[in-house]
């Protein structure tokens, strides 16, 4: 007799009575917890936040409608644009460096001649499991001005000490270094898995045709990896625009707000100045920016799969 795998249900009678669910109602009941929580803690806040961005608090502490005045204020807010500038600086400098590094490492680790691939993969991925708060604090101590290990290294090889926390440029560099350390391995692992799905025959055929390794990369690897690269670019963009922990704990906004990020500015506005309406406006400014950047990246990245 053909054994029906589902008949194992018959044999293992449940120790407790499970509610009997008809096929018609089952999906609704299955999604109900997710949908209810989602409506309460995602949909409602998104809508309420927008309404809040159109209000202001009057002298009595009551919220009153304020039209688009908050948005007008945002467009003229030098601090917001400074924070945005700092964040975009990370975006245009750090993200390309990090993704290029990740790609180089992934291509190397994908080579069949390399020994210790598993070891290198694990070691490079390790920073990605570390709490951002921990990373921030470790880097703060490593880069400490007078007795930090990095400045000690610099002076031993005859270079001058760097004022990582008082020099605005060095402060930005420090933030870039910490973020690169934290995220490169994560992106490398994503690229590596993408590379492994490219059939080896393609490279063999190309080698027979006399294509150099560089040519193989730009003719085979790069085009086939485009969807993955697009994903990591969008992911890094959204992540970068939301940076908070590092700005708050590692540089504390930096000298003259040199490393103040939009996320930190929003936190200051909302939870230190208790200006909830304007904080919501900043959040919506950020949302618009993320949507615009993602659309641009989709256009240029060409979503080839759909």
């Amino acid at each position: 007799m053909q054994s029906n795998p589902a008949s194992s249900l018959e044999k293992s009678k449940p120790g407790f009575t499970l509610p009997r669910l008809s096929r018609k109602w089952a999906p609704y009941i299955f999604i109900a917890p997710a949908v209810i929580l989602f409506l309460l803690f995602m949909v409602y806040p998104i809508i309420y936040s927008f309404l809040l961005s159109l209000q202001k608090q009057n002298e009595d502490g009551d919220l009153v409608w304020n039209g688009i005045a908050n948005y007008q204020r945002l467009l003229g807010d030098a601090k917001f644009f400074q924070a945005l500038g700092n964040t975009v600086l990370i975006l245009v400098i750090q993200v390309p460096i990090q993704l290029t590094l990740a790609m180089i490492l992934a291509v190397w680790l994908n080579s069949k001649y390399l020994r210790g691939r598993g070891f290198f993969r694990a070691v490079y991925f390790l920073p990605a499991i570390t709490a951002l708060a921990a990373v921030s604090v470790i880097f703060r101590i490593l880069f400490q001005e007078n007795s930090g290990f990095i400045n000690y290294l610099l002076t031993t090889i005859g270079l001058p000490r760097i004022n990582w926390f008082r020099d605005p440029f060095a402060n930005q560099l420090l933030l870039l270094l910490a973020i690169t350390w934290r995220w490169t391995g994560y992106n490398m692992v994503i690229y590596l898995s993408g590379l492994q799905s490219i059939p080896g025959d393609l490279y063999e055929a190309a080698a027979v045709d006399g294509a150099s390794r560089t040519a193989q990369f730009f003719r085979i690897t790069f085009p086939l990896m485009q969807p993955v690269i697009l994903f990591t670019t969008i992911f890094s963009t959204i992540g970068t625009l939301q940076i908070f922990d590092e700005s708050y704990l590692l540089t504390q906004g930096g000298p003259n707000d040199a490393t103040l990020t939009v996320g930190f500015y929003l936190y200051r506005t909302a939870f230190r100045q208790a200006n909830f309406p304007y904080a919501s406006t900043i959040a919506y400014g950020l949302l618009v920016l993320i949507v615009i950047l993602s659309v641009i990246q989709f256009r240029f990245g060409g979503d080839r799969e759909d």
């Binding site: 917890p33 390790l126 499991i129 604090v137 063999e204 990591t232 704990l249 909830f276």
Partner: protein, 305 residues
């Protein structure tokens, strides 16, 4: 048995994958290649040192007193003050309480999100029902929305004036937990894995008269164990590491305790490195044993389906 045959096909496909994996670049051979390859190793080893050194420094500094951490030249060898540091952390910032909060919150968060995500993911993968496409798209769309948009309303919801029940949730576990429980990422990941479950088995179960929940519990979930493990690890790590939200709703966890330490006027460098070590260590240990699950959690988002 169902579980076994599934495992077997899985192993087979894994073997195939390693075969494909083994094929990398095919390039010219000879002296040039030896030099290139040696250079590659040198760079990879330097990279590995850069990757690992902060961890080593942290663990080593955790055993030093504050003044030992700041000594010049730096002393990179472990010392003996780890227990003094831990005791001071407990006295100064109630680190034991923070650790307990972190652990309880992360475990509760993991259990609830994995349950909710797998139920919803299963419904989206295996049922056609009114509005399923639309609801799923709305879930996915919010992945693009920055979390910042929701912070202020969520904070207000947690205060007594901001919710209809007049309950002040600030400082409680629920304030930390509630906002993240319906995770679009988790639902997406579960839907992707559940799609692979054979429809024939579900049909056979229905013919045998099994209830829908019974099938989900006894047929589907056991097979989904690897995906559940990956999701659970991802969720645990996310919650364990999270800093911003516990800070806002005023619950002391390990990351916010570290934040408090680093914000005080006299910083205890040995103590703070002990705190970060205790934050990193549990995740590190799990990572060493369950690397594959960690990495598939990280990859889940990048795989389209």
């Amino acid at each position: 048995m169902l579980g076994q045959s599934q495992t077997r096909t899985k192993t087979k496909s894994l073997n195939r994958q390693t075969h494909v994996e083994a094929a990398g670049y095919v390039g010219e051979r000879g002296a040039g290649q030896v030099i290139t390859r040696s250079l590659m190793y040198v760079v990879l080893v330097i990279g590995a040192v850069v990757s690992l050194f902060p961890f080593y420094y942290m663990f080593s500094a955790a055993t030093h007193t504050s003044s030992e951490v700041l000594a010049l030249p730096p002393n990179l060898l472990p010392s003996t003050h780890i227990f003094d540091n831990i005791n001071k952390l407990i006295k100064d910032v109630h680190f034991d309480e923070a650790a307990r909060n972190s652990l309880v919150i992360a475990i509760m968060f993991t259990a609830i999100t994995v349950t909710i995500s797998s139920l919803a993911g299963y419904a989206f993968a295996k049922f056609r029902f009114k509005g399923s496409g639309l609801i799923f798209s709305i879930f996915l769309a919010t992945l693009m929305i920055p979390a910042q948009v929701t912070y202020v309303p969520l904070f207000k919801l947690m205060t007594a004036e901001g919710n209809p029940f007049g309950i002040n949730l600030l400082g409680s576990y629920w304030a930390v937990l509630l906002p993240g429980l319906a995770s679009p990422f988790g639902i997406f990941l579960m839907r992707q894995s559940m799609k692979n479950f054979p429809d024939d088995l579900l049909e056979a179960g229905r013919i045998d008269g099994a209830g829908e929940f019974e099938m989900f519990w006894r047929l589907v979930l056991p097979v989904m164990r690897p995906s559940l493990a990956a999701l659970a690890i991802f969720m645990f790590m996310t919650q364990w590491n999270s800093f911003f939200w516990p800070l806002v709703v005023q619950v002391q966890t390990i990351p916010t305790a570290i934040g408090a330490l680093s914000g005080s006027s006299i910083i205890d460098y040995g103590g703070i490195m002990t705190g970060t070590s205790l934050s990193v260590l549990p995740i590190l240990v799990v990572f060493l044993f369950l690397q594959r699950e960690f990495i598939s959690g990280a990859l889940a988002g990048s795989v389209k389906g």
